[in-house]
């Protein structure tokens, strides 16, 4: 809001200067009024465009959305502080009984020879290699498709668009049968290899690269004698980084939450990611003589989302700057 106020103050000099339009952020040439005086367009901020208006409705809708998004997280936190007994006998949205978060965390990490930690490690492996690799491949391919002309480009475009439309769930069983032939089921590759493919990420990088990497810049680099790979790694990659971060976030979340594929691919709990492992914990109560550990399932879920929340908060900065960078292009 400070920029609006600055813009609102009448310029001390009569000399018209270019100024930044507060509403759009674009640089506009100053206009001269008939008297030669610069018109103080923002002298009365109340009139100064819709940006200043506070919509009660939007605020309410926003607040509802916020509650909607945060309530499950709050529930998760509150209930991860309860013991198994208290869990079933207390109001779900507030604390009750002893604060046993740390006892729960300890139990979660130790349960069944510490398999939670193993699953956590597996998940990290799948995310780092799978999502990292997917982002790298999507960037390479998207950039290549955006900046080079070659025969069959339209065909590739059609295939990628088609691939975006096919849900991974539908491919899981055929992929399983194929991997089974290759002897890859029950290995980390069964999760990592399919995760490396991100048609959506490719598409995103492609469209992003078209605008954000000026072809003139590439031509200049070529003129200066840089090879294509050098151009890509030293120039284009930096320009693409906001888009890259976006793709990384998407693929990270997708891999971190991946449930169906590992469910189908893996039949040894040593390679389970957290999603499948926690579901197994959750289900073990619903069988004759099964031990109920809902408190550990909830605490485990709580621990599971922490890294992804941190990743989002950390990378959001780059993401936002990326969006803004895109919007002021001239």
């Amino acid at each position: 809001m400070t920029s609006v106020q600055q813009g609102a103050a009448p310029a001390p000099s009569n000399q018209p200067t270019d100024k930044i339009d507060a509403t759009t952020g674009r640089v506009r040439p100053a206009r001269r009024s008939s008297t030669g005086q610069r018109r103080p367009r923002f002298a009365k901020p109340q009139e100064g465009g819709f940006r200043k208006k506070r919509s009660v409705w939007l605020t309410v809708v926003m607040a509802v959305m916020l509650v909607y998004a945060l309530l499950p997280l709050f529930w998760l936190f509150v209930n991860s502080t309860k013991t198994q007994d208290v869990l079933f006998n207390s109001f779900g949205l507030w604390f009750s009984g002893d604060f046993s978060l740390f006892a729960n965390i300890g139990e979660t990490l130790a349960y069944h020879d510490g398999e939670f930690i193993r699953w956590f490690g597996n998940t990290v492996l799948y995310v780092v290699v799978g999502a990292g690799g997917a982002t790298f491949l999507a960037t390479l391919a998207g950039y290549g498709l955006a900046k080079y002309d070659f025969p069959g480009k339209k065909g590739v475009f059609a295939v990628v668009l088609g691939a975006v439309a096919v849900p991974g769930t539908a491919l899981a069983v055929p992929t399983f049968l194929m991997f089974s032939q290759l002897g890859l089921t029950n290995t980390p590759w069964a999760i990592i290899l399919p995760s490396l493919i991100s048609p959506f990420g490719l598409y995103l990088i492609w469209t992003y690269a078209i605008d954000s990497v000026p072809t003139e810049l590439l031509e200049a680099a070529r003129m200066d004698g840089a090879g294509e790979f050098r151009t890509f790694f030293t120039i284009s990659l930096k320009l693409l980084s906001p888009g890259l971060i976006t793709v990384l976030l998407f693929t990270m979340v997708a891999t971190w939450n991946n449930y169906f594929l590992p469910l189908i691919m893996l039949s040894e709990s040593t390679w389970y990611p957290l999603t499948v492992g926690l579901n197994q914990w959750n289900n073990q109560a619903s069988t004759a003589g099964g031990e109920a550990i809902y408190n550990l399932v909830i605490t485990g879920s709580f621990l599971t989302i922490i890294p992804i929340v941190i990743a989002f908060l950390f990378m959001q900065r780059y993401w936002q700057s990326g969006l803004a960078a895109g919007s002021v292009k001239q």
Binding site: D85, L87, F88, N89, T169, A170, A172, V173, F176, L177, S180, Q181, T185, N186, F260, L263, I264, L266, S267, E268, S269, N279, Q280, N282, N283, Q284, A285, S286, T287, A288, G289, G290, E291, A292, Y294
Partner: protein, 449 residues
Amino acid sequence: MNSRFKKTVWRTLATATVGIAAGASLVACSSGPGGSADSGTAEDLEKALQTESSITVWAWAPAVEDIAKAFEEKYPKITVNVENVGTGNDQYTKLQNAIKAGSGAPDVAQIEYYALPQFALGKSLADLSKFGFDDLEDKFTASTWNSVNLNDKLYALPQDSGPMAMFYRKDVFDKYGIAVPETWDQYIAAAKTIHDADPNAYITNDTGDAGFTTSMIWQAGGKPYTVDGENVGINLQDEGSKKWADKWNQLVEGGYVAQTSSWSDEWFRGLSDGSIATLIIGSWMPGNLEGQAPDGSGQWRVAPMPQYEAGGTATAENGGGGDAVLEQSKNKLVAAAFLKYMNAEEGTQISIDKGGFPSTNADLESDEFLGYESEYFGGQKINEVFADSAKNVVKGWQYLPFQVYANSIYNDTVGQAYANKSDLNEGLTDWQKASASYGSEQGFTVSEK
């Protein structure tokens, strides 16, 4: 947690995999040569156990790991790898996929009775009579033995069973002066008394559950499914099915059953505080109540299942399952020997200690078992009720050879009647139609009626 999501996913998957597998099942496929015998005498089994080898077991029953340990101690040359690859449906999916893929299946798998025909008729399970296990018939209850014998072949050994009984809250019944219902009419009257007195209290919960519905039809004497090779009959409007639906309609249409999903935390809360006053469920329930509704301790009791006619004794099985040897197994002798150890020898006691309800006559008749006084149930000798129920299971029940799929579409059909509080008979008719058309697509000759 999110059951609707789970159901949708399961459906996608059921269509994809069960379809493929059931379709493939009709193509006569020969079992591969493998490296081991497909049959053997007791001596062959004993000999195999003295040779170094290992087997993989897919099971989610908590006792199996302990049984495997005991087995390894007795036969040190054998290694048993127990993998919990998922409970129920999750495991069946993996099993179907591994069967379809032609490799990756375990040597032994836990399979519930309702799912057994699907795998058995798909020719993916070994015929255990080739190992002389036919002789074990006398060890098991009639109903469980019937469940593992299909088309004159023995496809599994029963591991546990779930003869049904009525679990009820004595405190709630006492509070409203309700006598323990012996007929379904009395049960319905009790439902009204409880709910009318306290709008938050219900006689039981029921949001529609395929396993429960089939068990209830079973008790009512219905025989909705008939299977003779590839000829399948489905009639969910036979006398018994209608009998159940007409009775249960009174509870569903009147809103006298709680809309709480079984196995949810609300469910256990209701079982703890008494807002769910009874459960009509399998005899394996006590362990789950003790573990997950500890606050209900001392309040619960067990009584025989209510009847359609006063003085009746009919019951049904609810849940329970056996263990099978896969055709893919390359170590069938050891797999079969483990099966026998687990379900007909030392393993049964370990299973009972872990909360499984036995399917073996000797255990059901033992004084130790019958005389057990459960503290949780106020000192009641609950096993007497359960053992009685096991004897009175209505004979001749049969599941579909694609029951796993059929159960997965239950929610779209009968489940809708539950949701709309409308006539269950219409829901059953829809379920029949949908199941029949799926069966036809899979190459079965399906007749409705």
